[in-house]
Amino acid sequence: MIVRIMGEGQVKVADGHFAELNKLDDELLAEMESGDEEGFRRTLGALLDAVRRLGSPLPDDALEPSELILPAPDASLDEVREMLSDDGLIPG
């Protein structure tokens, strides 16, 4: 699956790694919803590191659809919350 890290580019991650990534991703969501800024920072860093470690970067001129998108490494909790709540587009 192809993951985009905003501000960095795209990374191709083998499907087998998604169990591990999902765990971090769910954790990140929980921290964001509870407003745990410190935890959010730590988990986001860990998730981005894991994606970079497990995946291989795509060339900049590749035009592949990203199935998943991650905030930029320096994105704050508020920024991410704003992105997700914008226009009421959050499904479910």
């Binding site: 991703d25 769910d26 592949e64 199935e67 998108i69 991650l70 479910g92």
Partner: protein, 265 residues
């Protein structure tokens, strides 16, 4: 999977689609650009027609003047034969001024002809470019439509529109714009390079001194013509031909020495 990654992906794509929907259709932009190029081509063609018309008008004028000139020469000859040198002088001096107009018109005629050729060439080149653009435009439009259809199919089957194919469309739009600008710039370059756009200035305008010189040499011409006709009446055929040619062509080159020689006769 309902974490941040998935949600961000969905929101990103939804926004990209919205942004695209708001923007104008690149196919319309292409058609508009093509329309503009056709108009430009039309203008160039009209320019060719205008120049050709002016050229023909000049040709008519030239014919008329030459006819008058021949008539005046004839009258001069008759007057001289009747012993009316004053009348002959008058006819010949009128003829000299006509000849001046004729040579002026001939210069203009040549300039117009050159311009017409350049414009015709420019129009042909522009036509080729417009044709090429039309082909490319249709290709780009077809590609765009296909990409759009693909996006819609992907959406309806998986419920996920493709973030990057949207980016791809954005690139496509940029390419369209580039092609449009290139075609325009190319067309204008073509016209400038061929000189069709800035050739209008300096159509045979003369300064005062040149006009005065022309007038003087015109007078000289009359004297020469008189001498020639006198010689003709007297019946000296061999020297005449040369004198006729000298009088008909560049009067400025006619050297004063020749005149002296005639005077001494």
């Amino acid at each position: 999977m309902s974490g941040v990654m998935k949600r961000m992906g969905m929101i990103f794509r939804a926004k990209a689609n919205k942004a695209l929907d708001r923007a104008e259709d690149p196919r319309e932009t292409l058609d508009y650009s093509y329309q503009k190029q056709l108009e430009l081509l039309q203008k160039v063609r009209r320019g060719v027609a205008d120049v050709a018309t002016s050229r023909k008008r000049l040709e008519l004028q030239l014919n008329q003047l030459q006819g008058q000139s021949a008539k005046l020469e004839d009258q001069g000859r008759k007057a001289l034969a009747l012993g009316r040198e004053d009348l002959a002088r008058e006819a010949l001096s009128r003829r000299a001024s006509l000849q001046q107009q004729v040579s002026d018109l001939e210069v203009q005629h040549q300039t117009l002809q050159g311009e017409e050729e350049k414009l015709t060439l420019a129009a042909q080149r522009l036509q080729a470019k417009v044709d090429a653009f039309r082909t490319k435009k249709e290709t780009i439009k077809a590609t765009y439509t296909a990409a759009q259809a693909q996006t819609r199919i992907a959406e309806s089957f998986s419920g996920i529109s493709e973030e990057m194919s949207d980016v791809g469309l954005a690139i496509q739009r940029a390419e369209d714009k580039t092609a449009q600008l290139q075609a325009r710039a190319g067309a204008i370059d073509e016209l400038l390079a061929s000189g069709a756009l800035d050739d209008q200035s300096g159509l045979g305008s003369k300064d005062d001194i040149q006009a005065e010189l022309d007038r003087l040499s015109g007078g000289t011409d009359v004297e020469l013509e008189l001498q020639r006709m006198k010689a003709e009446l007297a019946g000296g055929p061999s020297a005449q031909q040369q004198a006729i040619e000298g009088g008909a062509q560049g009067s400025a080159q006619q050297s004063p020495q020749t005149q002296h020689r005639f005077d001494k006769q």
